[in-house]
């Protein structure tokens, strides 16, 4: 029994979300079987990968049973019913803890579901558990998690990217076919890139932030991670749409992303290569794969031109004023008064002292660094020079995009300048760590859509490289259309998905545990 399950299960974990949904809908396999297979896979590999902070096995199986019951009763099922998913631990869940990778929220059980969480449940998506992340989504490696780093399934000694590194690692390690991440400066696309999977940052406001524990409110955007462009589009469609609980949510129909992913055609499309991001600065193999991807697009019928976005070079410094400013305010509420950690409350100390001691004990160094940066940038007398100036730069970057999108339909660049770096390499060098988001930050500041799709392995280290495709706000479908075309052409060239080139993770012998 165990052996048979292990065999069948490992097959189930290799399926795409679209395949699983079809198999569940047709009754070929039950949602419970699919869920159990992924829970088994988590047991088998997650001690090495450490993608999850919390696995909700019973709740997942109950949700799967519900899907099976509905199917048996002939009730209509959503396009992703019965498909397992890994949820970034920054989205609130009424039945699971939500830690944001921080000690300050250890053990906190939110009394409510995030809108994204609720939409997933309503659609019959099976939430397996909560994934690891850099504390409060601040970082590019998961090394800032208070619960230890996640590991890149391609090479366990390397980072899986961040901050949604638990989500990217879970998908790349076949622990889940789908995951939710959040992108503030690149936190979906960069981990997707270094794990060799697909990650999409939707247009800001396209997916609800209600229940997303805020890092930087004007930037935070939930989005999908998946192994295929179509799977990402299916999840995008299920999780998105207007939410009256989020004032910044866009009151417009979700762009036709699934249709675009199926269309996968770039003939006649104008593709702009961002001059500022295509010169030096990237690892040799990253640059080589990017150049090949651009040539591929041209061979598929796209018209490629160079486009200058002169203010993109100021994106990183502007981001590191705006995001910390907002975080310094957003994270003020962790004050020990109502929930989460409370330190030093021995009956002799004032509320002020308990607040200070708790924040001292509960926040990690990167979070403290950004709170201090932001507090400084917003201070009276410095506001205009820092926060105010950064907002002006943000406007200029948005105008660069607008001008570029008058010339071309999409812009492309490498997703991140390097492949996955070794765990520990940049922990003492925050500036080096920040550079991982160099190419992704402009789309966060401007709020437009951007996707990362795998475009090969860097020859020098054999690790995945991502291609970033940036589309105008509310033209998310265009990013999917180009991404799917690249994916399809490359898989033909490779004879299968890039991830098939990753070596198998060691599973403990003897079948399921």
């Amino acid at each position: 029994m165990a052996a048979r399950d292990a065999g069948a299960g490992s097959k189930l974990t290799r399926l795409t979300a679209a395949e699983i949904a079809a198999a569940v809908a047709s009754g070929e396999v039950s949602a419970v079987e699919v869920t159990q297979a992924h829970l088994d896979r988590i047991v088998a590999v997650d001690s090495d990968v450490h993608a999850f902070l919390h696995v909700a096995g019973n709740a997942a199986l109950a949700a799967a049973e519900d899907v099976d019951r509905k199917r048996a009763a002939g009730e209509p099922l959503g396009p992703l019913a019965g498909v397992p998913l890994a949820l970034k631990d920054v989205m609130t869940t009424a039945d699971m803890p939500t830690t944001c990778g921080s000690k300050i929220l250890e053990g906190w059980r939110p009394p409510y579901d995030a809108t994204v969480t609720r939409r997933l449940r309503d659609a019959g998506v099976v939430i397996l558990g909560k994934t690891n992340m850099d504390e409060f989504a601040m970082g590019s490696s998961t090394e800032n998690s208070a619960y230890g780093p996640s590991h890149n399934p391609w090479d366990l000694t390397r980072i899986p990217g961040g901050s949604s590194g638990g989500s990217s690692a879970a998908v790349a390690a076949y622990e889940a076919p789908l995951a939710i991440g959040t992108d503030t400066g690149g936190s979906i696309r960069q981990p997707a890139s270094v794990c060799g999977i697909v990650g999409m940052k939707p247009t800001y406001g396209g997916s609800s932030r209600y229940g997303l524990v805020a890092f930087a409110s004007s930037l935070d955007t939930p989005g999908p991670l998946a192994r295929t462009v179509l799977d990402a589009a299916l999840l995008h469609e299920v999780m998105s749409g207007h939410d009256p609980c989020d004032s910044t949510s866009v009151d417009a129909p979700v762009p036709p992303v699934v249709a675009a992913a199926r269309q996968a055609d770039v003939s006649g499309l104008r593709v702009g290569v961002v001059t500022e991001f295509s010169g030096g600065g990237s690892q040799t193999g990253v640059q080589a794969r990017f150049t090949e991807a651009v040539e591929l697009l041209e061979s598929l019928g796209a018209k490629v031109v160079e486009v200058s976005c002169p203010h993109f070079t100021y994106a990183l410094p502007a981001y590191y004023l705006i995001a910390p400013s907002e975080c310094s305010s957003n994270l003020a509420r962790f004050d020990a008064m109502r929930y989460g950690l409370r330190a030093g409350d021995d009956g002799t100390r004032s509320a002020d002292e308990v607040m200070s001691l708790t924040r001292e004990a509960g926040f990690g160094p990167e979070v403290k660094r950004r709170i201090m940066l932001g507090t400084y940038a917003l201070s009276s007398g410095y506001y205009d020079a820092y926060y105010g100036k950064a907002q002006q730069v943000r406007t200029l970057i948005t105008q660069d995009f607008e001008a570029a999108f008058e010339q071309v339909d999409v812009l492309v660049s490498p997703t991140t300048p390097t492949t996955a770096f070794p765990i520990g390499e940049r922990v003492d060098d925050p500036m080096a760590m920040y550079l991982a988001d160099l190419f992704t930050i402009p789309s966060d500041l401007a709020g437009n859509a951007a996707i990362s799709v795998p475009c090969g392995l860097a020859p020098e280290d054999g690790l995945p490289v991502g291609l970033q495709i940036m589309a105008p706000a509310l033209a998310d479908d265009r990013a999917y259309r180009v991404g799917a075309a690249v994916e399809s052409a490359l898989e033909q060239r490779w004879g299968g998905p890039l991830l098939a080139k990753a070596k198998e993770l060691r599973e403990p012998s003897g079948g399921t545990q």
Binding site: P111, Y112, S247, M337, R338, L378
Partner: protein
């Protein structure tokens, strides 16, 4: 500086210094739900029962602005003759305090919804135009209860409890421009302004404006400058002055205190001060040096507010008759002088008289009863007129009974007393106390005869034609009937018998 010995007597202070006042008033709006979530705003609920993830500031929750609160604020702005912003944003005011769930308050900073208006108030018989700097919208904080100490303040308390029911209730702040030139009338002007603002807000139907429940609270700014000085002095801000009387007292106290500071050659410290109801004094709070840097920045969780012009005009068109216009109309209708009108207003009698007139009494009668006998009762009881246990309809009925000759003014006072004592409505009191005038000849003749018999000297004078003496016999009849006799009928009967 709170030593009462260090105060300069008020008149003396005013002989050397010119006060400038300014008032910031916080008003809790009477919307059904809170500013950024759907929780009820009901006062007096079980602590922490009207809360949700949003008003508790739980991680991940987001605010959504209450359209009704924005409409109410525009209504206030229009009534205060302000300009309404075409586009403005909320801002975050950052500071740590346990009763503030997010450790920042969503407020408005440099982009208030309403700016640059005015409100006229009458002080000492002349009209003072109080400039309105701004009217902005924000959320209220929770309420801390400091337990185990003697004072109820955080200092000396053993522990504190926080009730978040109030957190997130929409709060409007109305800020005046500095008001100069009122001289010795500054305390009265401050009170008149808050009174006028309260009446205006009540007329607009945007708040229940109950100062005792804290739904209207004022901070009072006062500065003094030597007479004829080119610049104003340093101001203090006395926080949470929670009654009309306290507004007046706080200004008066600060004038006396600051005069003493300046007389001593010292500088007034720019600081917030606390008002103490029991002594009518203020004590120092936070000074400017300790003032917090609130690190204001535009609230990224909310979209800008851009009130459509048509909507603003609709709101303007729907404004009710405002207190000043109503007063002018009533003054004309009732034929009163400006001073008489001010007296009615100060006594809080306008609405009561209006309602009494509405119930059928003449304006003169309504005014006579409310400002006379009933004002005396209120004064004795130490309450406001409106708190007396008698309705305008009942007062109108008393007036009608007098008009009908059923009772006279003297009996009417007894009827009012009976109603106030809870003996029932005016008719019931008249019946129970037997107060109806006796004009029936059969009943009166007996008393008349007894009076004539008891006063033979007076009777003789009348018989001699000195009819002016009849009054003395009528008095005796009245005494015998405990005031119930119809005096003119009694007089006629006496003259009839002795003529």
């Amino acid at each position: 500086m709170t030593d009462l010995a260090q105060l300069v007597p008020y008149d003396e202070a005013l002989s050397r210094y010119e006060p400038v006042i300014g008032i910031e008033t916080h008003v809790e709006l009477g919307t059904t739900t809170k500013m950024f979530c759907g929780c009820p705003t009901t006062f007096g609920l079980e602590p922490n029962s009207a809360v949700c993830p949003v008003c508790l500031g739980l991680p991940g929750s987001l605010p959504v602005a209450n359209r009704a609160a924005i409409e109410y604020t525009i209504r206030i702005g229009l009534a205060l003759n302000c300009s309404i912003a075409t586009w403005c944003r909320f801002a975050r005011k950052n500071y740590f305090y346990p009763d503030m769930p997010k450790d920042f308050q969503i407020s408005q900073y440099d982009e208030p919804l309403c700016t640059d208006g005015w409100l006229d108030v009458v002080v000492g018989g002349r009209t003072v135009r109080v400039g309105i700097e701004r009217v902005h919208l924000e959320e209220d904080t929770g309420k801390s209860l400091h337990m185990g100490g003697a004072t109820g303040r955080i200092h000396g308390a053993e522990y504190s409890l926080v009730d978040y029911n109030r957190a997130g209730i929409p709060l409007v702040e109305v800020v005046t421009k500095p008001v100069a030139g009122t001289g010795a009338l500054a305390p009265e002007a401050a009170r008149a302004y808050v009174t006028e603002l309260r009446d205006l807000l009540r007329a607009l139907g945007v708040s229940d404006v109950r100062m005792e429940e804290g739904s209207l609270r004022s901070d009072v700014n006062v500065s003094l400058a030597p007479n004829g000085a080119a610049e104003w002095g340093t101001r203090t801000e006395t926080k949470n002055v929670n009654s009309l009387r306290s507004v007046e007292r706080a200004v008066r106290f600060e004038i006396e205190r600051q005069a003493a500071v300046l007389d001593a050659g010292q500088k007034v410290v720019q600081e917030t001060r606390h008002f103490h109801e029991d002594h009518g004094t203020t004590t120092a709070g936070r000074s400017k040096e300790e003032a917090q840097d609130y690190r204001y920045f535009p609230e990224p969780d909310l979209v800008p507010v851009a009130p459509d012009r048509d909507w603003v005009e609709q709101i303007r068109a729907s404004l009710p008759e405002l207190p000043a216009a109503r007063r002018a109309r009533l003054q004309a209708e009732w034929g009163l002088s400006g001073l008489e009108m001010t007296q009615l207003q100060n006594a809080g009698a306008l609405d009561l008289i209006g309602a009494t007139v509405g119930a059928g009494a003449s304006a003169a009668d309504a005014r006579k009863w409310w400002m006379g006998e009933l004002a005396r009762h209120a004064n004795v009881a130490g309450t406001d007129l409106a708190e007396l246990p008698i309705t305008p309809a009942e007062v109108a009925r008393v007036s009608a009974l007098v008009q009908a000759g059923t009772i006279n003014d003297k009996l009417a006072r007894q009827v009012l007393e009976g109603v106030l004592a809870g003996e029932g409505d005016p008719d019931a009191v008249v019946a129970a106390r037997g107060l109806a005038i006796v004009s029936d000849d059969a009943a009166l003749t007996e008393a008349v005869d007894a009076a004539i018999a008891a006063n033979p000297d007076i009777a003789a004078k009348i018989r001699d034609g000195k009819t002016a003496a009849v009054g003395a016999l009528v008095g005796a009849v009245m005494k015998a009937t405990r005031g119930r006799a119809d005096a003119s009928r009694a007089s006629a009967l006496i003259l009839d018998r002795l003529g």
